[in-house]
Chain length 344, copies 2
């Protein structure tokens, strides 16, 4: 009988719930293909309380309660009270899966959650880029010292394999630079503007379908894109970079006239992220550019994203992610989970 | 001191030589990053003879001799004479790297080379799709029984990570189908026709730069594309398929008029490969289709290729390979080599 892997979920919003749902869907497949059985031993939510149960929480029940607006307290078997750090301390488990809202300027509180879980000897997986940009080296060293892993596949391009691609598949290759569309929100906004909406109308639409955040400046001003550029540089190129070091221009300056003019010329405006190694220097940039149909960026529509890597052995290796959903992000977390167990 | 990995190279044409060159270039990097040191203990060529040396052949010297049209005999330390199967038998080594010309209808002689190497207890790596389509299950079982690996990353889309992507990164995902441009030769031919050349002129150009084979029907009639569809189906979907089971239409029927008409409408002709699971049935197809600028296939030019995978957790994961060269294919072989040693 296989020993269950104990999971601790910190954050139980759209992505956390999608991950729980995916775990349920993939239960039989994981057991069959990888001999993996998972128990969720703790769930910490923002607005629905927390539950700890060393024997495993009934996930379907937890999802139902949260969807109906109830409190997880009723599933708690350990009389838990406290904050998230207390929760991480007290939850028995092998792997923490972290999906809380994050402050893009500091990486908190996700960064603190990672530290707590790794210090305790758990593998730590997050969907947040904050801990990557503000703590990659520290957390990787901490994990390594504990014989555990710090993983974050979902932090860039949701669940599309980016970081894992550079582990085994591209082991013998050296990354020289990359460019692409990494912020799907502005990509959608620009597409709405092509259909005639103003930026404000497009943002309102984005908010209505849950794509833009309360503070749209994170996307619109290129912060999210810059954080992703910084994350890729830090992890894949071994060149630590903060978002502030990215030459950043958002899409506020793009007018409907500019959009129309581009369209007339058979072009589209895209918020292009890039990093180029020039000798010893690294030039990191986020800025709107027009692209034509001969560019692989042209057809990247809606909330899709795309990156092309320039490697010493592969001049252009592109990865496209079309039409992601919370399930896609949840898959990135699952892929990380499988990797912590050395199952593939 | 690290034990050297003994390599045996069967085939030493463009790709084999590019692999040898890459080994030389990456020597320091492999030692530093993976503690790997490689010796080439045997080289078998089509027209320059063979050499076996258990202490390692001087690769730079071997490359020089072959480029100058000489014979490798002068580097042979074991008085070798015999055919390729004798060579595989007599060469001491841990890993065979196979790049000989292959018959697309039978997978030979590559298939026989794989059998010989694996039976002898070597890992077997090939750039040929033949052994994949005609021997995947047999060779995988043979490798597994010997505790060795049968690998073929370069068989589809050169060195772009396709098969390795489905090992660890996509371990938890299920593939439902795919579509894309897998034959770069016809992609180039169609582009030349867009510039006004007839198919015959385009083929002559392709031959002049070493892209089209002596018998262009392998590409033009969609055989190469069909073999690739069959390989992806067999390996990634666990659904063995032969090229004959692919509904195949090549590009001979595409006239300059059709090309011009498509261009007029802002479209391009592409040879599209696809596989779709429909209930219990698998619909595999290779056929010319027109695509517009909203398709990710539109911008795939020259000898580039592209595939988009439809996965249960990722509705559209695309992989683009731009402007490959023999070095790109060589990288696929190197990636496989690193994997055989469990180094990444």
């Amino acid at each position: 009988m296989m020993e269950p892997v104990g999971l601790v979920l910190v954050g139980f919003g759209n992505v956390g719930q999608a991950f729980a749902q995916l775990l349920l869907e993939k239960q039989a497949e994981l057991a069959e293909k990888y001999g993996m059985r998972c128990h969720v031993n703790g769930i910490m939510t923002g607005r629905h309380g927390a539950a700890i149960n060393p024997d495993g929480i009934d996930l379907e029940e937890a999802l139902r309660i949260v969807r109906e607006g109830g409190q997880l307290k009723q599933l708690d078997a350990s009389d838990f009270s406290g904050d998230t750090l207390d929760f991480i301390q007290q939850s028995p488990g092998d792997v923490m899966v972290e999906t809380t809202p994050v402050n893009p300027r500091s990486g908190q509180p996700a960064l603190e959650h990672m530290r707590a879980a790794l210090s305790k000897g758990m593998h730590a997986i997050t969907a947040n880029k904050g801990p990557v940009v503000y703590g990659f080296q520290e957390l990787t060293a901490l994990a390594s010292g504990k014989g555990r892993k710090f993983l974050f596949e979902s932090a860039v391009m949701d669940g599309a394999p980016i970081f894992s691609l550079f582990r085994q598949p591209l082991a013998g290759a050296r990354l020289l630079g990359f460019s692409g569309i990494l912020n799907s929100c502005t990509n959608l906004l620009l597409e709405r503007m092509e259909a005639g909406e103003t930026l404000e109308q497009a943002i309102a639409y984005g908010a209505s379908i849950g794509i833009t955040e309360t503070d749209p400046s994170n996307d619109v001003d290129g912060w999210d894109a810059s954080i992703k550029v910084a994350a890729l540089s830090t992890v894949l190129m071994g060149h630590p970079l903060t978002p502030l070091e990215v030459d950043r221009t958002g899409i506020r300056g793009i007018t409907l006239e500019m959009i129309a003019e581009a369209k007339e010329a058979g072009q589209r405006w895209k918020l292009v992220c890039s990093l180029e190694r020039k000798g010893e220097a690294f030039v990191a940039r986020v800025r709107p550019e027009t692209v034509g149909p001969d560019s692989p960026l042209f057809s990247v529509g809606g909330t899709s994203s795309f990156v092309v890597f320039n490697l010493d052995v592969l001049p252009g290796l592109g990865v496209l992610e079309s039409d992601p959903s919370p399930k896609t992000t949840a898959f990135g977390l699952l892929a990380d989970l499988i990797y912590t167990q050395g199952k593939a």
